[in-house]
Each structure stands twice: as structure tokens, then as C-alpha cells.
Symmetry: C4
Subunit: 194 residues, 4 copies
């Protein structure tokens, strides 16, 4: 499960760059500035995939085994992650232009779905310690609970904001990724034996 998942994470993150492009021969320099939404969308999705990958990786290290249901839910999670380059491209193409609202809504909806499936994925493994390794103590499980809990409400808020201000919604997604990634050190302290 780990190799395949790592592959999908890495490929989805690297495919994001294909959304960035400049067209025609007119004033390349001005275009490179003009397409700032492409850079924002790229960095936001790349960092977001980074967070999910780290959480995924850390959580898998707490598991002793994997069953078919877990593989199925994991595959659904990968389906949403591999889908991310599409709404990222929408944001890149339409942010700050007509069509930015549906683009930002599609982007946020994908993130809500991803966070929800990731939560189901973790709860399935954790409930009654179904797949958890024996040596993992309850504090480690609560550490992961705390790390997964904000996902759905946070991206739910991003989705609500997308209806009013697409730009604010994307910036908030970027901020979540940029601040959550390093501060996840907290999670590490709670989740791993010193």
C-alpha cells in the first residue's frame, strides 16, 4: 500500500506543474507576472499534498496490518489526491477572471472530500484499534486524532468562503498548508515516542 500510495502522492504533486503555461509570443515578461494565480495554485496544492502525505505516512507507521476495506478506502483517498491537478488548473486558469467562483468552489469541494475520506480512513483503522500495532500507545492515537480533526471543518470553511471571495478562499488554503506544515512539529511530539 505504501509504495503505490507514495507513487500517487509524488506523481500528483509533480503533475501540478503542467497546469502552468504561457501562450503566444506577446510580451512573455508581462505574461509571467500576469499568471500569478498559476503560481499560487501550484504552491498551494503542492504544499497541501505534502501535508497529507506526511500525515498519511506517519499514520501508516502506526499500523500493524492492512485489510481489503482499508485498501479500498485508501484507494478512494488516492482517487481524490490524483484528481487535485484538475481543480488546481481551474484555479490557475480562472482566478482573478470570470469563472473564478465555480473554480474556487470546485477546488475547495475536492479538499473537503479528501479530508473527509482521510478521516474515514483513519477512523476505520483506529476504531477498536482494528489495524493499530500493539506497541502504539493511546497518546499516539490521540495525537493523530488531533491532527485529523481540523481537516473537514477547516476546508468546509474554505468552501463557504469560496462563495463570497474566491481569492480569499485560495489564500486561506495556502495559509493552512504553509503554516500547518512546519507547525505539524506539535503533532510529532504528541504522536511519536521521544
Amino acid at each position: 500500500m505504501e509504495t503505490f500510495s507514495d507513487g500517487v502522492f509524488a506523481i500528483a504533486a509533480t503533475l501540478l506543474v503542467l497546469e502552468i503555461g504561457v501562450e503566444g509570443k506577446n510580451d512573455v515578461g508581462a505574461q509571467l507576472t500576469h499568471i500569478w494565480p498559476s503560481y499560487l495554485a501550484y504552491a498551494t496544492s503542492f504544499l497541501t499534498i505534502g501535508i497529507i502525505w506526511m500525515n498519511h505516512h506517519h499514520t501508516v507507521s502506526l499500523l500493524a496490518r492492512v485489510d481489503r476495506t482499508m485498501l479500498f478506502v485508501n484507494h478512494l483517498l488516492l482517487l481524490t489526491i490524483a484528481f487535485l491537478p484538475f481543480p488546481t488548473k481551474l484555479v490557475a486558469d480562472y482566478l482573478n477572471a470570470p469563472g473564478e467562483r465555480p473554480a474556487a468552489i470546485a477546488y475547495a469541494s475536492t479538499l473537503v472530500l479528501m479530508a473527509a475520506i482521510h478521516q474515514v480512513w483513519w477512523q476505520y483503522a483506529r476504531r477498536g484499534r482494528r489495524l493499530v500495532a500493539d506497541h502504539v500507545d493511546d497518546a499516539a492515537l490521540r495525537g493523530v486524532d488531533l491532527a485529523y480533526a481540523p481537516g473537514v471543518p477547516m476546508y468546509g470553511a474554505v468552501l463557504l468562503i469560496a462563495f463570497y471571495s474566491p481569492l480569499a478562499s485560495v489564500l486561506l488554503t495556502f495559509a493552512i498548508a504553509a503554516f500547518y506544515l512546519p507547525s505539524a512539529a506539535l503533532f510529532e511530539r504528541g504522536g511519536e515516542p521521544a
Copy 2:
């Protein structure tokens, strides 16, 4: 064989997203609804690759060794899997539009070919326990037989249906993937020692 195969599975699945696109600047929201065949094709192929990967992975774990013929057949199998993004794109672009029949036929034909090569792949390894590990009992082999048997007839039926109703044929492919993936738990019980 495993690393290379895992790579091709993961990359083919992740490349599927490149078929999804929105064109022009007109009413992005309406377009996002209008391209539902793209989502259906994406999910169908992603889940189908998931099933084949799981079966492939499970089966390889029963083998003790691999010879050049097996590598060759495995490479043919990977050739059809890596090809899947193309007929997936056909379905995405033409379903519910003129050209949907050849698109659905091409999609189903690829799946029939894939299932047939996967069957040959398994039979080659299994015949006379040619490549099977000693500790694997006959029940495990019969479990895999049962899992592989429906492939060709099932996708054969999908192909027949594609001539009459392209949409029904794609929906059936989706249903096969969506229901087979979790229910493959049965296969697990038959196929692995408790």
C-alpha cells in the same frame, strides 16, 4: 518486477486526470457540470486500475520466482494498463455525444484485452505450480482462480453492451469496479492463510 509494475500502475492511474479539462472562458460552472462523463471515466478507470493492482500484488506475493516469459507477459499486461488513459479520454470526450459508440467499444476492448493478458499471466505462473512458492496451498491457488475467472466474460459483456448502449457499458464498468473492490474481501479470505 514489483517496483516497475507498481510504478506503471501508479503513474497510469495518476495520468488519468490529464483527460479532464474545461475549455474557453464561457460559464465555467455550467461546463463543470456538463463534463460529468469525464468524472465518470476518471473514477471508473482509477478504481479499475485499483482492482487490477490489488489482484496483481496479491498474486505476486504467492510466487517464489519469476522467469523471462513471466516478465514478458507482465510487460504486455503493463502495456495495456499504461494504454488505459487513452480510451478513458475517449469516453470522457465522446460519451453522451456523437462518437460515443466507438469510444465505449475502444474502452471495453482495452479492458477485455487487459483481463485476457492478466489471465494468461496467472495461468502461466500457476500451471504445474511453475512459479508458485512451496508454502502456498492449493486452496490459495483456487482462490486466485476464482478471482481471475470472471474478468474476461465480465468485460466481454461490457463490450457487447457498448454496441447497444455506450452509457450503460461505462456504468457497468464503474459498477464492477465499485462493487468488486470492497467485496474482494471474499477473495482475501479464500486466498490468504488466516
Copy 3:
């Protein structure tokens, strides 16, 4: 070296599918037949990458260590393999149409270059058993010599033929891949202890 190389092999093979496409809404069925050069180019390059990967993989298993020069030559080899999707696309787009000659020449030239670098790669490792593991006997090395020797002359012939008949040159490349891959069993018998 192995992980990175395996990745490039798998990704280059899987990216090949992106060259296949159908344009416009006119008679999809007829177009699917009309683009047979795309299928031929796809299968030829996919099988060719398969052969190179198998030889590469087998040879690496005979090595005890890797130095920076080897890594450098290996990187040049990967550069030509990762380049292959481009001439493959040329063949797919121009075979059986104006422009087929330069397309086939570009394709064959890439294969000659690839075979030449692969030969240098092997000779560097083999000369004076520089990187070869101690337990590997000389027969195994001669087995690899025999497997690598035909590369450059064979693709050199393909290149010559491309000037006269682009189609024949691509078909010969396909035949080399299709027949060499299974018959490489010979190589296996010479190259690995029974």
C-alpha cells in the same frame, strides 16, 4: 541508482500514451483506425523500454558497487530513455504521411544513441571487473556481452532503413522488441546461475 532508474523507465513508458489522440468530433470510429501508427509507435517504444529495463536490471544485479562516473553514464542513459516519448510522438504523428522520413530517422537515431550509451555503461562497469561483484563468474559477463553486442549494429541498420522506408524501419524496431523480449530467455540461461 536502481530506484531512480526504475522510476524513469516506468514513467517514460507510461508517458508514451500521451502521444495518442483523436481530434475533433468527426467520425471517431474511422479516426481510431486511421491512427494505427500511434498504436504501432506506442507498442514499439513500450516494448523497447521493457527490454532495456530488463537488461539494465539484470546487469545491475551483477555489480557490487557504483561510482560517480557510472552514475554519470547512467544518467546519460536515462536522459535518452526519458527522451524517447518525443521521437515516438513524431512517428505516431507523421508515419504514413508527409514528414515520415525525418520522424523515423529521429526515432532510430535516438535508439542508436541509447544503445551506444548502454554499451559504454556496461563496458565501463565490466572493464577489469571494475564494478562487478566477486561472486559473478566470467561466463555471466560474457552472457551480458552477448546481450549488449547487437544493440548498436541492429539499431544502426534500423537507422539506415529509415532513409529508404520509414515504415519498414519502425516495423523492424517493433520486431526486434517483440522477438527479443521473450527470446531473452537465452541470455538468462547464460547470465544467471541455475
Copy 4:
């Protein structure tokens, strides 16, 4: 960290080929010569990723552990590497044509950023031997210092030159990659116990 990073390196390098293309049906042979900036850009970026990958790989082998901050900085480094196909495409499309200056500046800026993050990445791990394995002696650390030191000034010079001569700036980047890669043998002697 290693698997995910290796994946991103390999995928980014292999995606570079997608920037190379020929358009229309006119005189394919002449076009294949005319697009030499595409080949130059491809080779330059492929070799550059090769160097960074080798240095990254070697350095990781000196570390005993990885913390969340290191993972975060590593993810930023991967973000710039996965971004490289975009400025590579700019150079391929605009070198030797109007728009070559901003293209070369964007390319060089990406490389400066990449080198700077790679330096931060290494300094974070090295400072007070924070993440370094116990068995690694100080000479090995100084060897890595020497290998990382020229990165920012070298690509800074490339950036300055891009303002005056885009072509010279790309050729210098190519030369850095082509000569640095094999000569990195020096680094190996300093950096690894014999």
C-alpha cells in the same frame, strides 16, 4: 522522505520531455533542427536534476534522522524541482526568439531559488550536527559544504548573465551541469570513507 523525494526527482526529469514538440505538417525535418533550444533546455534541466539528485542522495546517507522542519524544507526543495519543467519549457519555446530574456531570467531565478533552499536544507541538518549520523566524521561534512557552497553564487552569475545574453546564460547552466556531474567524483573522495 527518500522514496517520495526520489519519485519527485524522477518524475520531474521525465516530464521535461513533454515540452518538446513539433507543430503542423510543414517540413518536419527543418523543424527538428529549428527546435534546438528545446533539446538544449531538455538536456540542461535533465542533467541539473541529476546533480541535485546525487547531492541530495549522498547527503541523506549521512543523516541519522529527519524531523518535521527538515521534511518541510525538503518539501520546499521538491516544490522548486517539480516546478523546473515550466521554466524549461519557457527556454525551449522562447530562446533565440522574442521573449528569450524573461524566459532565461525565469529559468535562472528558479535555479537560484533551488540552490538557496538546498543550502538551507543542508545547513539545517548540519548545524551542530543536528541530524547527522554519529559515525560521519567532520571531513565528510566539510566535503558536503564544499559541494553546496558554489550553488547560489554560480546560479546567481547565471541569472546576471541572463539579463545580457539569454543564450550564454543557458549554455553556462548546461556547462555547469555537464562538467560538474562527472567531476563530482572529487566530492565523493572528500565525502565518503574509502
